[in-house]
Symmetry: C2
Subunit: 398 residues, 2 copies
Amino acid sequence: MLSYSKRVGALRSSEIRDLMKLATRPDMISFAGGMPNNDLFPVAQIDQIFDTLPDQLKKVACQYGPTPGHPPLLEALKEHLRGKGMPVDTNEILITTGSIQAINILTQAFVDPGDTIILENPSFIGSISIFKSYMANMVAIDMENDGIDISRLEYELNKPDIHPKMLYLIPNFQNPAGTIYSQYKRDAIFKMMAGKETILVEDDAYGDLYFNERVKPLTVPMKNSENGEFTICYTGSFSKILGPGLRLGWLLAPPEIYQKCEIIKQTMDSCSPNYTQVLATEFLNRGYLQPYLSFLREEYSERCNMMHKYLVNYMPEYVKWVVPEGGFYFWLHLPEDLDASEILTKSIEKGAVFVTGKTFDPYGVKNNRIRLAFSNMQKSEIEPGIKMIADAIRELKK
Amino acid sequence: MLSYSKRVGALRSSEIRDLMKLATRPDMISFAGGMPNNDLFPVAQIDQIFDTLPDQLKKVACQYGPTPGHPPLLEALKEHLRGKGMPVDTNEILITTGSIQAINILTQAFVDPGDTIILENPSFIGSISIFKSYMANMVAIDMENDGIDISRLEYELNKPDIHPKMLYLIPNFQNPAGTIYSQYKRDAIFKMMAGKETILVEDDAYGDLYFNERVKPLTVPMKNSENGEFTICYTGSFSKILGPGLRLGWLLAPPEIYQKCEIIKQTMDSCSPNYTQVLATEFLNRGYLQPYLSFLREEYSERCNMMHKYLVNYMPEYVKWVVPEGGFYFWLHLPEDLDASEILTKSIEKGAVFVTGKTFDPYGVKNNRIRLAFSNMQKSEIEPGIKMIADAIRELKK
């Protein structure tokens, strides 16, 4: 009897919910959640902020803020991004309720039902769900160890009569593949996008979380090199560098696009939470971010090394992976005859959960992949958890 | 060169931004902002909460939460709504990022481009913008002193071949009209909606802010009387009873609709800010809400009485209004030959701002109305501000 919209029909039912349930099962060693361990949050620093916050700012925190963002946060973030070489003077910043809202807003700004979005395969489940909700035509291009398959990308970009509206990429420590784009591929993408109307949406939630100085220069956003030959909209997040519970992200876009995005954001939630914007402002202005980032890099690097060691120890030789140099994820490649959903079922029996490959396939098919996050569990759980998953794989391999 | 979506083209450019700018001009006496005065926020209570919050909860506050909401907040809110007689056992609660997100989600769930939404004229600018962003066909029906014109509503509901997807109403202390629906009109709407597929979206941001016990029984949500003959989705908010800066609202909907809404919310921001959800949970569980509501009712009632007194004192006799019995707003009716935009220009010269009538007209036309909010300014500013606006009106009346 209820007559839902066509857009609702386009959404897969409950994938993210199922993912969140997996990620937070208390009885399990969880490799599922792309989230920090609770003990890593800067609770002491936030206590310091709150204890010394003037009453006047506590009141502002309770009030509506301007749609673009709490002005002191915009200023502080602008300085932070300027320090990273980003073009903050020729672009505008919009504070969003997580970077997922930034991606949603950009999609609403550009994509009508049936329009084409080119994205990586695998890609971020949140963005895949957004693109489905706008009834986009997703064209997914395989990831290689140093980024998207660029010959395929060139082919898709130049197909006659398609005119993709958006190219959505996660160049740094991709979720779920864990890879970082080579300079060669970044340059190639610049060349093939020149003169195109296709917007590049650069999702950079993990770029600050590199594990070594060698890889750091590669994390420079593509946005920093914009040259006017095509349009780049950049999205960033406080979720991985402060806390996802604050629900704060941002987008950096040329003024004309920014203005459309601001109007769209008004219809979504009027403004992002001023309460957490005030806290984030202080976190930046009091100089807490850089030391906290150093702490996180060391912590995640240690977790990554531990996981690599146990993968080498326990996984059968036919399981392959690239060691990530930043971010949260290992992406295991399994032989074609193995199905990650079956492995998951068996692994859950043993006491470990992860996310299956097809979750991240925009076409929902390819399932001989496994995503393992090392960000969330206790470190002491990594070894027994990896052993459980390795045993599950062995038991299923014919 | 940029090729935006059709939806962007459907949005009015910057009305809410202009409204916010008006509302927050520091050099002005502002009757524009539908927001509490900063000094009214329960800062001391939030300090108490923060000072005694266990570290474990401070960590949870920084983390992603489940999409439906922080489970203890869902429990606390369920008990609060149960206490108000709401059908919380046959419906599900979804925590949203302000009730504007709840309205946006419901619109996405039901409305395709061109679908009809029936709403009040005037109506909430936020909802008008949402409906435009979904390219809905808005049918706006005039408000009378005790609610929407029900004969017109019946006519529009029963037009052949239209099948409105949604009826959007603000029965309690409407924004901007300030009116409350009579029991007669509530009953009439129940009768005429029976058997229809049209969803009633009941926006109840102001129902708790009644000024006298006489009107209190009328504030009972229509949702409480649902009888299975048509579907009601109810939206509520912490913005007016705790603080808009927390960005917390909710919707209460039948399970099937709730499930669609949860999936849509995932694509919008994954979850509402866990940080402020933890604070709101404590605010409810520590028993702070009821005393704070009593305080707010007294404060807003006093402000309303003051404004009424000065309106009587200073306004020309051809300016008419109904004295609100709750909420934030006076809605002035001016003679047909007066234009609120011209009055606003002159009034700003004198030092007072308000919002013009056409802002709240879904058709963007009718402009011999003025919305005056008494929630936001210092009380001492009410008299001089009203005098300025009255003078502006007199100067423009031929």
